[in-house]
């Protein structure tokens, strides 16, 4: 018989395993805000841009939605996180900006400083 703590630790290990299986260890992790406020500001379209980019062959990227971090007037927000680098947080990401982030940041590794929060 396993104890609750043992069970939960197993569950955690399995969860981590599943997340990794979905590509968490990719070089870049992209998080798109998908709360009511973010969606109101247009984040669904932004998410679509990143999905499309991955479908179109941008590799080594882990894409996830996230809740609202609380920076309302700069929404939609997108984070690009690379291990060993300072997480990059973009604000007011329109679909066009999202495409630029794909082109410049994800493909070329260029951090677009003027859109950073």
């Amino acid at each position: 018989m396993l104890t609750p703590m043992q069970i939960i630790k197993n569950k955690r290990a399995e969860a981590v395993h599943r997340i990794i299986g979905k590509g968490y260890l990719s070089t870049r992790r992209v998080y798109v805000g998908m709360a009511t406020c973010e969606i109101a500001a247009g984040s669904k379209d932004v998410m679509q841009v990143f999905r499309q980019a991955i479908a179109d062959g941008v590799t080594d990227v882990y894409l996830s939605q996230k809740g609202c971090a609380g920076r309302c007037n700069l929404e939609p927000t997108v984070e690009v996180i690379e291990e060993g680098k300072i997480p990059v947080k973009y604000g007011r990401v329109s679909p066009q900006r999202a495409r630029d982030i794909v082109e410049r940041h994800l493909k070329k590794g260029e951090v677009i400083t003027e859109w950073m929060i």
Binding site: T36, C37, I39, A40, A41, R71, C72, N73, L74, E75
Partner: protein
């Protein structure tokens, strides 16, 4: 009653029959009314009668509940529901002017539906999009950072749809 309405009524009855099995089934009244409104767009009297019988709740009680909660429409609503956020953030940023503009453009008061049944104007308490205040919601879409001119343009766009 049209066939479509019959179908909806059947769906509602099935939903109620499931709920009626549960403990404290009468406590699901609000859930059933939500379901009814989802199906019919508002709460017609015949539907409330059916709910009363289905859940064994006195009709007056249902009427009391339906009129208490502002979420429930007692009359048919327009094709588009325009909700003006009247939260504090929107108020401070001029929601009143947006509302006035809408009232004039649609020629209705809050809670009313335009004669062409295209728009129902409502006030919302807070749409939770305070960052882009003032906002309105048309159906499920939120429009932010409005003023009286922008909002009229949005309405005109919907008219053309």
């Amino acid at each position: 009653m049209t066939e479509l309405a019959q179908d909806k009524m059947t769906t509602l009855r099935e939903f109620m029959a499931e709920v009626a099995q549960r403990e404290y089934s009468e406590s699901y009244l609000i859930a059933v009314l939500h379901k009814a409104q989802e199906l019919f767009g508002y709460l017609p009297r015949e539907v409330m009668d059916v709910v009363a019988e289905g859940l064994e709740i006195p009709t007056a009680h249902i009427w009391g509940v339906a009129t208490f909660y502002h979420y429930f429409n007692l009359e048919p609503i327009g094709r588009h529901v325009v909700s003006v956020c009247m939260g504090t953030a929107c108020y401070v940023k001029g929601a009143n002017r947006v509302l006035d503009a809408l009232k004039r453009e649609l020629a209705v008061e809050v809670g009313q539906t335009t004669d062409d049944r295209l728009f129902t104007l409502q006030e919302a308490r807070c749409l939770g999009a305070c960052g882009i205040a003032p906002v309105i919601m048309i159906d499920d879409k939120i429009y932010g950072e409005l003023d009286s001119e922008k909002v009229i343009e949005i309405i005109r766009q919907h008219r053309r749809l």
